[in-house]
């Protein structure tokens, strides 16, 4: 286990001082930003540490759900900024991420795999929301580019009497697949090329490797389920926004 007392932190700070001296000596011109960055990251991380200590003491389910909701709000805001050009984009990613997270976290809670304690709920919630956020953004981005790039194909299908859902069927499937691709690729290389974050963190913190592996397996499957739900919900809601009620392409 790595020691984390004041001495260790002080040694790490001295490394930053060294970086500032080097920057000055070599006239890189980044010393001011380094100093501000050092102070800033120290303050921010310590503040977050205290916040987590506080949250981890919470056993109130409403407080946990409130925290999860804040994560989802921030996640959906971030996802929506990556897919401009889609109407109601923030609402879409919010609903999709909520659906994905609720289904998986809810199932984990209901089956008793995790307890309603911040220690489990918050990190798992964070990972679920984070991955769902990426998936949602990817699906929206992909759908938007596929449909705008294949306008003629979509409108040809519409002109031949297909409804909006049939007209974008191919692109719908492509987009959901694209959103899930990173998870599918992850399964191919996990344990061979990469050691995933949760597992590495547990091993660094001193947990037995096999226990770390099983936790990772649970986390991995859970995230995949959340990502799948999020991807499909995102695609459905996004496609609906691209057409008027008279099956007219409006983006």
């Amino acid at each position: 286990m790595i020691e984390t007392g004041f001495v260790e932190v002080a040694i790490a700070v001295s490394l930053m001082v060294l970086a500032v001296i080097l920057s000055r000596w070599q006239r890189v011109g980044t010393e001011k930003e380094l100093i501000i960055g050092t102070i800033r990251s120290f303050v921010q991380l310590v503040a977050v540490g205290y916040a987590l200590e506080f949250i981890f003491d919470l056993e109130n389910i409403f407080a946990l759900l409130g925290t999860l909701m804040i994560m989802i709000l921030i996640g959906s805001h971030t996802a929506s900024r990556r897919a401009p050009g889609i109407p109601r984009v923030r609402m879409i990613s919010f609903l999709a991420i909520t659906a994905g997270s609720t289904v998986t976290l809810g199932l984990m809670l209901a089956t008793g795999i995790i307890q309603a304690k911040a220690q489990y709920f918050i990190p798992l919630g964070g990972m679920t929301v984070g991955n769902s956020m990426n998936c949602s953004a990817l699906v929206m981005e992909r759908l938007h580019s596929e449909v705008t790039g294949n306008r003629l194909a979509v409108e040809t299908a519409l002109s031949l009497g297909k409804n909006w859902r049939q007209a974008v069927d191919t692109f719908f499937r492509k987009a959901v697949k694209a959103g899930m691709m990173s998870m599918l690729n992850f399964f191919k290389v996990v344990g061979i090329v990469t050691l995933p974050g949760a597992m590495t963190g547990m091993i660094l913190a001193g947990a037995p490797p096999l226990k770390a592996v099983f936790i990772q397996i649970i986390v991995g499957y859970m995230i995949t389920a959340a990502v799948t739900v999020t991807g499909i919900v995102t695609a459905h809601l996004t496609v609906r926004q691209m057409f008027t009620s008279a099956d007219q392409l409006k983006i």
């Binding site: 040809t156 519409l158 031949l160 009497g161 008279a246 099956d247 007219q248």
Partner: protein, 251 residues
């Protein structure tokens, strides 16, 4: 049929103060400006005008690929909004300027509109191919391996499979050389004769309108500035803008 088209039942499509405004950068732009016109059953119409005059925009209002902003379109004396939009688009078929064929064979493209029915069977497939001047053997050919002219014909045949009442053609010869253009023009005349199909075709070339020998509508800046028998209209234009267009001063 009454040659003067005086009977109401002869009017298959009618517009009344039809207008469309689209949002532009800072304000909005009128693309179709208050067009009232009656299209009679079984005739050939050519919509002629310089580029950007609203010809394509007008066609797209007829099968509701776009939505009107003002006025009304009546098909068979009923507002087009009263029809299920997928039915309307089968009755008022549109062939785009650039033909888009779906991946697969010519036959799969022809049956695209109605996959749940076994229509067209082999014999009717051959009939549709013959209608557009293609060999029966082409049915099994990969749609990507066709020439532009062949693609245009397959797209036409695909529109005809739906047994439309009105065929909308958006510059169907713009990508073809003069020889191929002429054969498509002949094909259009034949379709009109054989199927009693009402054809509304957009072209920027008034000579093409003369060759098709139907009724022409001249559009400038979204306004219908003149209409009438193509020969009379273009040999002796009344409107100054039409005169300038014929002289090649408007492009």
């Amino acid at each position: 049929m009454n040659k003067n088209g005086a009977k109401i039942s002869d009017i298959i499509l009618r517009t009344e103060n039809l207008g469309r405004t689209v949002p532009a950068e800072s304000s909005s732009r009128v693309v179709i400006d208050s067009i009232s016109f009656e299209f009679h059953r079984g005739k050939i119409y050519t919509v002629v005008g310089p580029s950007g005059s609203g010809k394509t925009s007008l066609l797209r209002l007829f099968n509701r690929l776009d939505e009107k902003s003002r006025g009304e379109v009546y098909y068979e004396n009923r507002r087009i909004a009263e029809y299920a939009v997928t039915d309307l688009r089968r009755k008022i078929a549109l062939a785009f300027q650039i033909p888009y064929l779906f991946p697969g064979t010519v036959a799969s493209n022809l049956s695209y509109c109605c996959p749940d029915q076994t229509v067209p069977d082999d014999s009717s497939l051959a009939r549709y191919l013959k209608l557009v001047g293609l060999e029966e053997e082409l049915a099994g050919r990969d749609s990507e391996k066709l020439s532009v002219g062949q693609k245009q014909r397959v797209a036409l045949a695909r529109a005809l499979v739906q047994e439309p009442d009105i065929l909308l053609l958006d510059e169907p010869t713009s990508a073809l050389d003069p020889g191929a253009s002429r054969t498509i023009e002949e094909l259009i005349t034949n379709l009109n004769n054989e199927l009693q199909l009402t054809i509304i075709m957009v072209t920027h070339n008034f000579r093409q309108a003369l060759r098709l020998n139907g009724v022409s509508l001249v559009l400038v800046d979204g306004k219908l500035i003149e209409s009438g028998d193509s020969k009379a209209l273009f040999t002796n234009p009344e409107n100054d803008l039409t005169r300038r267009f014929v002289k090649g001063e408007l492009r």
